[in-house]
Symmetry: C2
DNA sequence: CTATCTGCAAACCGTTTGCAGCGTT
DNA sequence: AACGCTGCAAACGGTTTGCAGATAG
């Protein structure tokens, strides 16, 4: 899908879910849908302001909340605890995250479902979610 | 190792590293070394206060910092972003965490090193750390 | 026209820092 | 006796909430 189509698609999904398509939302969606790395709310706010100067940080948080509800973005947790947001991709993804710049790669990892089921059996837990994340330094930051 | 020995061992390690063994530290170490689940700083503060009422939250943070330096505790990250602390075990562990009460189980997972090396090769990243964590509801919270 | 959305300000929560006095060594 | 440690209070940064005015549908 073309990035412009992606943006249009997100806005349509917002609308279809009863949300309104507004200028600030348009700016935020444009940024997040096309970013190649995970963005923090502040980064979105700063960049978004260049396009739509009246943008407020609160709106960034509220819009991200909506996009997460719709499954369009996912949160990324890092060792530093900083919350970043990344466009969600098809199915469950395993992430490789650059600890310097937040750039994110996806990789096909092991399928963890068998493991999860094994562990459920062994412990009696009901497994609801799993994280498989690698952290490292990307080639660009490394140079 | 007996839990009382474990506590003694931690206090000795503090001392050996040039830190002082004080009443508040003793209370904190006792709690964290023997806990069967990951504790948040506030929980440590509240419980610690029962044993040593003058305990301050700041001291909890500062002591956890020391214990982390010495490799005696490890941070645990959850989807809610809440930081909890767990006694560190031998080698690298994969965790299963109860999202309700913070109880933690360890499990022998796949060895992720081959995967990490494969991903390094494919992406050019230098992989430094990995997380394999499962989240769920433990049998007790589930009932 | 109405209900949602926005931005501001202020509240809020977990964490960190400055500092004067206390307690370990 | 000296220096690290403590607890209080206050600062701090990120996130959330209340509210009156703006705006999409």
């Amino acid at each position: 899908m073309q990035t412009s189509d992606l943006i249009k698609n997100w806005l349509e999904q917002l609308q279809a879910s009863g949300y309104r398509v507004t200028e600030p939302r348009r700016a935020i969606v444009e940024l997040v849908a096309t970013a190649d790395h995970a963005l923090s709310p502040i980064e979105i706010y700063d960049s978004g302001r260049r396009e739509y100067p009246r943008l407020g940080l609160v709106t960034v948080y509220r819009t991200l909340e909506r996009l997460e509800e719709l499954g369009l973005v996912q949160r990324v947790h890092s060792p530093d605890g900083c919350h970043r947001y990344l466009r969600a991709f098809e199915g469950h993804q395993h992430l490789l995250i650059c600890t310097r710049c937040g750039r994110v790669e996806m990789f096909a990892g092991d399928d963890l479902d068998p493991l999860a089921r094994r562990v459920e059996q062994a412990t009696g837990y009901q497994v609801e979610e799993h994280w498989l994340q690698l952290f490292g330094v990307c080639p660009l930051c490394h140079a």
